[in-house]
């Protein structure tokens, strides 16, 4: 990784001198962000200064692409001093600031019909805007969950991909040789949400330890693969096959250990992120009819894991020193997921997007928090004014089974080609274990200034 960083810096220097202008294309942005929490009991977020550089070589046959991000992340509570600046692919909890991360870093070879890429990649399979059910190759970064867009949440994975395109047909195959774990915030950080661990961490005189999981061995058997066949016609459709690690978080309960130490209680909550292999067969389609643009996808997944309700994990009501064996808290089930999204242009520069999706847990025991049918409704109204100098977005999400909701509104003003500024307000409601309700302390207003070149 360090070598890659040196190469990146050399390329950036070459590009900035204009020496390689015909050979390289460089763009980037700086982003200054501040957060005003609306709930006094929530964790603080300090101002962040983040940067992004994208470098592409221009010759079409052999191509190099880099997307590097970095900066000072104000959502990190106490930076761990034993971490390198570069984000790694083997840890779930990475409290690093300042940081650098290769979102994408690959080399590609292309002919008219074939493209082969090797390196750190992100993929976008499926059709839906949020939780596309066939988009399983990249794990997500939950450290600022729901304040980041879907694509920003994705963690680039080292992978090899090949894509063959001929006429209306496309086939893409991807191999991810190692498991890259999802990332979670520390229990004291702003986007940790409401969990058993954060409940402990909120108590005075209690220090909660976080334990990294033992990741599966890095061998061929534990790699992930995906294949996607796509056809472009009046109705576009695709078939997706995936076999590999489920990118969604699930936790294994082991033993709670509470130890008194220098006047405080040190708690090992006995909950570690867990990783399981699954298989998924998916279909998706898109079509336009009149003023409506439709998108749909569905997937049958074998071997997904779900956590039971937190009340059944076996936590004692009072935290006193000792060891407490926790109850098994994972349940394996097949699922069917499907969703439909539509875009409708209300008037010029005003687009309404609606999406409904449902997950069916086929053999659900009563112990699960998730219901047999879990539904999510999303609505987004995007509006541009003054020749797109002003852009507003209103986003609403609702889960009827648990009655939890998220509302997000933002407005951007474009000053020049390089400068723009925006304000975002977000609010959450619902029970503490629900998707949005777990962030009910995270209502906030956020201001951002972006300089891009």
């Amino acid at each position: 990784m360090k070598k890659a960083l040196v190469v990146t810096m050399l390329l950036a220097v070459c590009a900035s001198t204009g020496f390689a202008e015909d050979f390289l294309s460089v763009s980037g942005r700086l982003n200054l962000r501040g957060v005003i929490p609306l709930n006094n009991n929530s964790a603080t977020e300090y101002p962040s200064l983040l940067g992004r550089v994208k470098i592409d070589t221009t010759p079409p046959t052999w191509k190099f692409h880099l997307w590097l991000e970095g900066g000072w992340d104000g959502s990190v509570d106490l930076p761990a001093h034993d971490h390198s600046v570069l984000k790694t692919w083997d840890e779930v909890y990475q409290s690093t600031t300042p940081f650098l991360e290769f979102k994408e870093l690959y080399g590609a070879y292309s002919t008219d019909i074939l493209e082969i890429r090797a390196g750190v990649q992100r993929f976008s399979w499926g059709r839906l805007d949020e939780y596309p059910v066939n988009d399983l190759l990249n794990p997500w970064d939950y450290t600022q969950f729901l304040r980041k867009s879907l694509e920003d949440r994705k963690i680039g994975v080292p992978s090899l991909s090949a894509r063959v395109s001929k006429g209306d047909w496309n086939v893409e195959a991807v191999w991810v040789p190692i498991l890259v774990p999802y990332r979670l915030p520390l229990p004291t950080e702003r986007w940790a949400g409401s969990t058993e661990i954060t409940a402990l961490a909120d108590q005075p005189g209690v220090e909660v330890l976080t334990r990294e999981p033992d990741l599966p061995a890095r061998n061929l058997k534990n790699s992930s693969v995906g294949v996607r066949l796509q056809n472009t016609g009046p109705v576009e459709w695709g078939i997706t096959l995936f076999h590999g690690y489920d990118p969604r978080p699930v936790f294994k309960a082991t033993t709670l250990v509470v130890t008194p130490e220098s006047g405080k209680l040190v708690v090992d909550p006995g909950i570690v992120p867990d990783f399981h292999k699954m298989s998924s067969f998916g279909l998706d389609a898109a079509a336009v009819k009149g003023d409506w643009s439709f998108r749909a996808e569905a997937a049958y997944a074998v071997g997904r894991y779900f956590n039971t309700q937190r009340e059944l994990w076996g936590y004692p009501s009072d935290i006193t020193p000792g060891r407490y064996d926790l109850n098994p808290n994972e349940h394996k089930s097949d699922t069917i997921e499907y969703g439909l999204g539509v875009d409708y242009r209300l008037f010029e520069d005003c687009l309404l997007t609606l999406q409904a999706q449902q997950t069916v847990i086929l053999n659900r025991p009563e112990t699960l928090y998730d219901r047999k049918f879990e539904t999510l409704f999303w609505a987004n109204l995007k509006n541009g004014f003054l020749n797109q100098k002003v852009e507003t977005n209103l986003n609403l999400a609702y889960n009827p089974e648990h009655g939890d909701t998220m509302a997000k509104a933002n407005a951007w003003y474009v000053f020049t080609d390089s400068w723009k500024a925006g304000v975002t307000a977000v609010a959450f409601w619902g029970p503490s274990q629900s998707l949005f309700g777990r962030y009910s302390k995270n209502d906030q207003i956020e201001a951002e200034v972006i300089f891009s070149w």
């Binding site: 395109s165 472009t232 079509a287 242009r345 010029e348 020749n387 100098k389």
Partner: protein, 258 residues
């Protein structure tokens, strides 16, 4: 004798006042325009769009447009933005099966997904400019419009037919009046009306013949309601290209035409 002379002059006056007074009909004019447009389908254009708002603010976008005559179908067009950074890599792809039946896709690198877009948005602002998506599409279907020559006049030193064009199908405008240069068969000026109200107008300047195809190198489009205007300058244009079909695929759209 006097009676017959009066009759002759009356006949002449009626003839001059009627559409038949022109050597061509409005439809004939547009068939010539269409012929020039079809000759220019195979092309690559590098252009700069400067957007001026009424407060004096200015934003610049550079783009590359690739076109292909897709016979026996109609045409294919791929437009890719090269700058500013926010729009870099954003693309727009058209497959016109006939001049009346088009499929449209847009790609936004931020979302990493190709999205189909309904043709209802064809008259909407093209990425904040005063051009419409339709302005960046290929030739229209002539049968979707009616044409009437209003007069002949000179614009920018070029003798023109002034033609009123009315869409038969629902569009954002109810009619447009175009100044079509005689012998060049390209627009020199265009005015879009919503009923009687002028809402958008454009001037096509610096017309040069490239490979025998008359090409405006500078187009100024103004929205009269918002007082916003856009100047598109062609930096480089090459005709008679023969791009492969793969350049007009979703894969090429995602790769920014590379």
């Amino acid at each position: 004798m006097i009676k017959s002379r009066v009759g002759f002059f009356l006949f002449l006056a009626v003839l001059m006042a009627s559409p038949c007074a022109f050597a061509m009909s409005g439809r004939d004019v547009y068939e010539k325009v269409q012929e020039v447009r079809e000759r220019g389908l195979d092309r690559k254009t590098e252009a700069t769009m400067v957007l001026y708002d009424r407060g004096g603010g200015k934003r610049t976008r550079t783009l590359t447009e690739y076109g292909k005559n897709a016979s026996p179908e109609a045409y294919k067009v791929l437009v890719v933005f090269n700058s500013p950074a926010d729009l870099k890599g954003v693309g727009f792809l058209i497959h016109a099966h006939t001049f009346a039946d088009r499929d449209l896709w847009a790609y936004f690198p931020e979302y990493k997904r190709v999205r189909r877009i309904p043709t209802a948005s064809q008259d909407d602002s093209f990425f904040g400019s005063d051009f419409s998506y339709d302005d960046f599409s290929g030739p229209p279907n002539l049968n979707d419009y009616t044409y009437k020559i209003l007069r002949e006049e000179t614009f920018d030193g070029k003798p023109c037919y002034v033609v009123e064009v009315k869409p038969k199908i629902r569009r954002k405008y109810t009619s447009y009046i175009a100044w079509v240069a005689k012998n060049l068969w390209v627009h020199t000026r265009i005015e879009y009306y919503q009923d009687k109200e002028l809402y958008r107008s454009g001037a096509f300047r610096d017309i040069r013949k490239i490979d025998g195809i008359p090409t405006p190198f500078k187009i100024e489009m103004e929205n009269h309601k918002t007082r916003h205007r856009t100047v598109l300058t062609v930096g480089n244009i090459r005709y008679r290209t023969s791009f492969p079909n793969e350049l007009f695929s979703q894969r090429a759209l995602e790769r920014g035409g590379k």
